[in-house]
Subunit: 200 residues, 2 copies
Amino acid sequence: MAASEKPHDDAREIQRLNILSGARSVFARKGWSATMADIAEAANVSQGLAYRYFPSKEAIYAELLDRASHLEAFENVRTMGGSAMDKLRYLINELLDINDTHIELFRLSVLTLHDDALPAALRAELEEQTEAFRSLLQSLIAEGQQTGVIAPGNPQQLLVALLAFLNGLCIMGIQGSENAKRHFPDADIVLRILQPPANS
Amino acid sequence: MAASEKPHDDAREIQRLNILSGARSVFARKGWSATMADIAEAANVSQGLAYRYFPSKEAIYAELLDRASHLEAFENVRTMGGSAMDKLRYLINELLDINDTHIELFRLSVLTLHDDALPAALRAELEEQTEAFRSLLQSLIAEGQQTGVIAPGNPQQLLVALLAFLNGLCIMGIQGSENAKRHFPDADIVLRILQPPANS
């Protein structure tokens, strides 16, 4: 083993994940203006220690983005069976689980996407991921309209409505009142906007 | 007329409204961090001129809040006839008109509500208005569930869903892409989340 390589170390890996988790939480709340001091505080470590794991907040953010692009849920939805509505239900339930981390990653993306201060390389990566997510939802809406499980009508309008709803729910799940979290809606309420009208 | 009173002057009133309008737009985009320089730029006047109309951004914000509390739409919805669903449709159509100012006032409220830097007196007024809006929606949901035009189920969950959806749409209407604005959803899509399930 070369001298520059560090031996694998469980405690080190756990601390690394702890700092990433703190960072995910503060980026999801403060956006790009979150500082290394905020991240260290959220991870309950000193700033000095945080810097021993990551050279900068840019490096932490880049790793969070990379992890977001490899989420199991995205892979699962591409390979699972079922109707377009089943796939959307699965995806939205994963995304809106307020005890899981997807909701923070989603909020982090939306919050930093329009911040001019975000470095260009990170923005390019974020835009690519945002576009992939949009395009996944778009193809599921198209598939669902074709098979009749999703309401007819302008698919772009349905997509904008769905994205807006998810965006608003992520904000509510992270920054909403305790009451909002206690009565947090599930995927079924979200999917009502896509349901075909009753034949009456 | 006392020397301290200014004679009524149409041009002066128009300039005043112009500055308020610029301020509404920048507060809706930047939140409380918007500065007098931003406001002056949005209103296309010099900072010096803006200060001759308003002593501070706090004064401008206070007047915007005051105007928001007297919106005709709120008065109309309290006096109009029709079902709870009709009233919600009217209210949401007013709110989501991306060519009107309500959407900016709504976004301004949501964006500044959780900013610790907002002065306490303004926060108290904002919280009162936010609570009045919540409580109006809540009473319409209760009325609609009682008369059967709104889906049964946890009314708090429907309220959280509706608020989240409106919040997400206001963001999209103000900061979304041109494509999102071109395909902006209307109140009917929003109200699908409240519709009773089809009897199938």
